[in-house]
Symmetry: none
Subunit: 395 residues, 2 copies
């Protein structure tokens, strides 16, 4: 292993969903249209490129997008849907936990599903139902059961116990007019866990029996959390995550990063970065608004969200990180209203670059940069090299 | 395998440590600052790109850097430290040899190390000590023992015999005030070799007992040489290496290349290239000065070293190679005074290119070239293709 336990401090700024597509009127992307004097100034001296989070043509979810940025091959280190949902609601997943996505549903007197989403209950109603389940469902011996609210009809169930297997089929039949499927093992080693899950579901149906609408639950996306090698083990970096949303803190925690105080705004995010800055060699800082506005399809709002982050850049510079990496976890073009497969602008600010003096921070300017198209999972190696934290390979 | 036993002749010019970083005053790298009319003229018609010897962020040593240029994946074909040292002093390593790096050291009457470097003896003193060991150390039955001088306190020990194992721990404790460690097998199959090594070390301590300063040796970086598939087996090319320094001839010999007469200067290097030019289909030609001056941190001297190679280019062109490849084995920016992770300018001169008429041979011009960023180990396939030596893949 080439990693050394000395060298510079690294800050990774993730502008979620940063990459975009040109506006049909102007031919410029959200980032290219935005007034970003600070990012552009840094770009003139930085190493620029485009980063490919997973592979050409693949639009990544937030989990793989961030794992890739943290240097974990997102195909090898796969976080399943259930674990992602548990992370998304801020549940502290532990190794061996089996996480399951739940839908509240409606069934008729014959047990047949009449609404797979139980009329989309309010979040408040969702929380009432989840509390009722948590208080009343009987956990089988040796297993802890955690119900967690998500949104509308969605909730999460986590099973904790010894030797659980997640090789279980969904009980959600994905159609109405039929009964929920029984819990079923996909492999022999999951037989016992299937029986446990069925007992829990039976108890839950009993608890919900008197509900007028949400009188059933359907399980899907069942998987187990297997721990990853930690960030410190891989890179000898004490690392922390500063992110408003639990999902991103969760992915960072999976890699062994500390969670800092939770910010309420982008301004507070940068204020927290300044706190105890010297206690960590790696800071992951997450800004969400670009992605949300891109998914709204609101080009102008996404452009403004980028400008708002640009305005905070001097406060980050004032902390004098040795290496500053600015990129996104994926593209979210407003015209697509969704995560996309397009590579994401990448900038590495350090003294050891081959910059283009006329560069700006934008998709087409970054594409002309010294890094070309970089696999996202190689950004960490580059950041470590720029921080003087990698030994020479071979003599 | 697509390789064909016919086609053009290839010359690979390696300008060691070629890639650089911009001077802080001018914004231009060593290569971009150098007056290289011949390389620039070739660049206008050549295929240009940047080559990545190992991976993003990884600064390669000379061994992996050259293996990559020769088309051997430097992670798969790993040359250990001991074998590299043996190659570095020009020792003809054979398959199965176990090579060991030695330090001359000082021990007190109690056998404890007082100086791990024996006061850094002169090279002449080093040669005297090595000769004394070679003449007097008793080799155990069935094993040949070779001691070779390196520099100052460093030497190399090679064991040759049947069924030796290199799975041995260092005897160098890496600290003073303690005794050298006994030879120890790291795996059961090395038990016998550990005993042999201990006998040799015991004999060496006996031989050095009357020395005032260098009265002990410490062993480290122990490894075995396992032969690689040869250059001819892989590419059907008769190949030779023209290099002033033994290290580079050694890496080429590991791949089965012939060594030409050893040049004294860059001028003689090119003169030797002209000798028996038609007897080989592949010529590896090594120029060292760029790397040395980069490691000195001397921007101007590195620039001039590049200009000196440029002046020799017409003599190489006069030999009319069908394909001329010009690149480095890694970057050695003067500002970093060390090998670095930055990609290296690459030019392939052949009639089968898509050139940019305004191109020059420099980092940023090459980055705009038709090859983009190429893994170093794929340069050989490109060179073979340009030489008409690769058959079509599939029907």
């Amino acid at each position: 292993m080439l990693v050394q336990d000395e060298g510079g401090r690294i800050v990774l700024l993730v502008l979620d969903g940063l990459g975009g597509l040109p506006h049909l009127d102007t031919g410029l992307t959200e980032l290219e249209s935005a007034a970003t004097p600070n990012l552009d100034r840094l770009a003139r001296a930085a190493a620029l490129g485009m980063q490919l989070p997973v592979a050409h043509g693949v639009a990544p979810g937030s989990g793989p997008g961030h794992l890739s940025l943290f240097g974990y091959d997102p195909v090898k280190y796969n976080i399943g849907r259930g674990v992602l949902s548990a992370l998304g609601v801020g549940f502290a997943v532990k190794p061996g936990d089996v996480a399951i996505r739940l839908n509240f549903a409606s069934i008729d007197g014959d047990g047949r599903i009449t609404d797979r989403r139980a009329g989309r209950p309010s979040d408040e109603e969702n929380r009432r139902l989840v509390k009722k389940l948590q208080d009343n469902v009987r956990a089988p011996g040796g297993v802890q059961v955690f119900f967690e609210s998500e949104k509308e009809h969605r909730a999460v169930l986590v099973l904790r116990g010894r030797q659980l297997s997640a090789e279980l089929a969904d009980t959600d039949p994905q159609e109405e007019g039929v009964r929920p499927l029984p819990a079923k093992a996909l492999k022999p080693e999951a037989t016992e866990t299937a029986e446990l899950l069925q007992q829990i579901l039976d108890s839950a149906f009993e608890v919900l029996r008197d509900e007028k609408v949400a009188n059933a639950i359907l399980a899907r996306g069942i998987d187990a959390y297997h721990p990853f090698p930690t960030f410190f083990e891989r890179y000898m970096l004490r690392a922390r995550a500063i992110a408003k949303y639990p999902m991103y803190r969760g992915v960072a925690r999976l890699d062994g990063m500390d969670s800092a105080r939770v910010p309420d705004s982008d301004e507070e995010t940068v204020a927290i970065l300044a706190e105890d800055f010297d206690d960590y060699e790696f800071h992951f800082v997450h800004f969400k608004a670009m992605d949300s506005r891109g998914e709204d399809g609101d080009f102008e709002a996404k452009r403004k969200a980028i400008e708002a982050v640009d305005a905070l850049i001097p406060k980050v510079e004032a902390l004098k990180p040795d290496v500053l990496v600015v990129t996104g976890d994926h593209s979210t073009p407003s015209r697509l209203r969704a995560h996309s497969w397009h590579p994401v602008p990448l900038m590495i600010v350090s003294p050891w670059t081959r910059p283009q003096p006329d560069a700006t921070f934008g998709e087409r300017s970054c594409m002309r940069g010294e890094l070309g198209i970089v696999p996202g999972r190689e950004i960490m190696t580059l950041a470590l090299a720029h921080a003087g934290r990698l030994a020479k390979y071979g003599a």
